[in-house]
Symmetry: C2
Subunit: 261 residues, 2 copies
């Protein structure tokens, strides 16, 4: 060990809890030609700690998708106390990304692989007139939606099932079977929220489920048809992929009090 290395604090695996407004980013994942949350956060961490950090995030989120709850981890050598790290990083972050907590996690912890389940919430603004405050924060649907049909359709997505009918073709996956812990539609005034929690999500799955429930609300698919749509494994039979701006990552389960939301 050189003299220089001796001065550095020991390397620790640190998990960060964060939130972001995704409008101005091309998703979480680092890309060469577009700005990502990962890049901005890694650069802020480098400035705050003086060390390069490579983060592992709980999931890719698409361009324009938001996170009220997100966890990323990375190995860092920093003398900054963990309770001060969020503020220290915050000094170098834009106002649409915020780190709320830093926690030391076991050496082998990985934000993506250790996550037991994730919750997404899809917001639909169902009103004849636009609300400027929902711009880029909810999908505006001026056509009247049959909320009861959406409520009835939602539980058909629950349980262990093959979700091939509600995913876009992306990175190859070994299996299209996932376990949906819950899927429900809730109403708050002129907002309809679709909440889904599963042990994993296929590419665009949350948005395709939201789009299918919107089709149920529009009367284009009946709630009773959902099991057959899923069984068909045919993307054409389900509803469209709902726009990114309505989607929020809202919950994570690691079985760890410091990270779960």
């Amino acid at each position: 060990m050189s003299a220089k290395e001796k001065k550095l604090p020991p390397e620790r695996n640190i998990a960060l809890r964060l939130a972001y407004l995704g409008t101005n980013y091309h998703g979480w994942q680092y890309q060469n030609n577009a700005l990502s949350i990962q890049q901005v956060l890694q650069e802020a961490l480098a400035k705050a700690t003086g060390c390069q950090v490579v983060l592992s995030g709980v999931g890719r989120t698409d361009a324009g998708v938001h996170a009220r709850a997100y966890v990323a981890n990375g190995r860092m050598r920093t003398g900054i106390p963990l309770d001060k790290l969020p503020l220290a990083v915050g000094a170098y972050l834009p106002e649409d990304i915020a780190v709320s907590r830093a926690t030391e996690v076991p050496e082998d912890f990985d934000a993506r692989f250790n996550c037991r389940s994730k919750e997404y919430t899809y917001l639909i603004h169902n009103s004849r007139t636009r609300n400027p405050f929902y711009h880029n924060r909810a999908y505006f649907c001026p056509a009247p939606l049959d909320f009861e049909a959406m409520v009835q359709a939602a539980p058909h997505f629950e349980g262990q099932q093959d979700f091939a009918a509600v995913r876009s073709v992306g990175t190859p996956v070994r299996s299209t079977v996932r376990t949906m812990l819950y899927c429900r539609a809730e109403r708050q005034g002129d907002l309809i929220a679709v909440r889904v929690r599963a042990d994993g999500f296929l590419y665009n799955m949350a948005r395709a489920i939201a789009g299918t429930l919107i089709y149920c609300g529009l009367g284009k698919i009946s709630p009773e048809e959902i099991p057959a749509v899923l069984a068909s494994r045919d993307r054409e039979r389900a509803g469209p992929t709902a726009p990114a701006c309505g989607l929020y990552m809202t919950g994570l389960d690691y079985g760890m009090e410091e990270l779960d939301v």
Copy 2:
């Protein structure tokens, strides 16, 4: 009357109820060198109706200030039915401005002069960590605020009083006396809302009252001092003008069901 004029529908005085996210605008009022809500709305109306319209708005709002409720009126010749006008104008409006209602009003109605009282709400996000979803939508105050002190201080602004201590010098006014119908601080989670309703507001008055209540929350001014601060008519004794991003126009009273919120 020429043949051409005959074909035009009669001129009517039409009041529009609207809402806007003020972040991208230099306030309501038309300016030569900066984009205003008035300009964008007038241009959208001209495209929708084919006529030039000059609007009168209920008040100037500063750059970055929002409106959940706003009324503007103008004389228009349009054959578009009034219940269809919001949608017709909306087709030419950006997503951060929305017209929700159009109403024919008496010939002498003026959105500014006929307004009996206005409500403003000032939002303060009081939390150690930023919330990206409040970026540009609430004033972020990381220092702990004594909410009870703010609650106690607020009613001292009520009643008919001279508000010279809580205004910025701007357009000359005949009198700095206004009647404050209510002034209160409310808490919703980590948001503190200051609600004020008065028969009129001096320049920056709502933001200076918010800034003074924040000073009470920080312990820099005690609630009992407020009457003396107001009596002094000295801007230096009150708190600072709170930033524009936290301010919303939220209520209007015209004594007309179609316009009031």
